[in-house]
């Protein structure tokens, strides 16, 4: 609590201690959302920068530094996904070429990746964290600052869109 109190008062040494304690957790969390190591490193710095700027608003009495950081990290990752969002075109079928099982599998994976990347950032984060990373719903809810039922709705909507996209691409999940 002493450390958090000093951080809330603007002590840079306390901030450094917190940075070293949490940088791996924050990086790992962001990486699970953005899926790119260099971007995750940049966003980890951005997260701690936002944390440092907001030190005066941190409630040291509550002491939930990890939860606060995860929320900031999620917002930074979401901002990044919104800035860099782009439609990834589905691969076209080459005409009259026999498909091996390996080719079909690769195309299926590509189609799923494209469909996930095509989701809106808020749906994508919920889908990736819930389905791929198997993060508990309450943990996702806390990180996004929404209710557990809202997370379930986002996952449900995301899966529905993914199924529709995959069906349109000729893949039948």
């Amino acid at each position: 609590m002493e450390l958090l109190g000093r951080f809330a008062a603007g002590d840079v040494e306390a901030f450094e201690t917190l940075f070293r304690e949490y940088q791996c957790d924050v990086y790992r969390w962001i990486l699970r959302i953005v899926r790119e190591r260099a971007t995750a490193e940049d966003l980890t710095i951005e997260t701690f920068w936002r944390m440092y700027r907001a030190h005066a608003r941190f409630d040291a009495a509550k002491g939930n530094c990890a939860g606060w950081l995860r929320r900031i990290a999620t917002n930074a990752a979401l901002d990044h996904l919104r800035r860099t969002r782009r439609e990834v075109p589905l691969p076209e079928d080459p005409p009259d070429k026999p498909k091996t099982p390996a080719t079909e599998r690769s195309e299926l994976q590509q189609a799923i990746l494209s469909a996930i990347n095509g989701l809106s950032p808020r749906l994508r984060v919920a889908v990736v964290l819930a389905l791929v990373e198997e993060e508990p719903y309450d943990s996702i809810a806390e990180a996004l600052g929404i209710s557990v039922s809202a997370v379930k709705v986002r996952v449900f909507r995301g899966v529905r869109i993914l199924r529709k996209e995959l069906t349109a691409a000729g893949v039948h999940p």
Partner: protein, 73 residues
């Protein structure tokens, strides 16, 4: 949509995207953080300049606001 369909999609998604929960950070990011702190702390954001200019103009043209400002500080 049923739970089974969500489970099917989970299986497909996990095949396409590897889980990264055990990924490790390859380097210490503190030096980069220090650099960010030193570059960002030196510059004052533009809205702070606007506020400062507004407050200065207020004090200059309406000296009567000084007691009110002092009271709120």
């Amino acid at each position: 949509m049923s739970d089974r369909e969500i489970e099917e999609m989970k299986k497909l998604a996990k095949e396409a995207l590897p889980a990264l929960r055990d990924a490790e950070l390859g380097r210490d990011l503190w030096p980069a953080m220090v650099e960010r702190l030193s570059t960002q702390r030196s510059g004052m954001p533009w809205w702070d300049w606007v506020l400062l200019a507004g407050a200065s103009a207020g004090i200059l043209f309406v000296p009567g606001v000084i007691p009110a400002l002092l009271y709120h500080l």
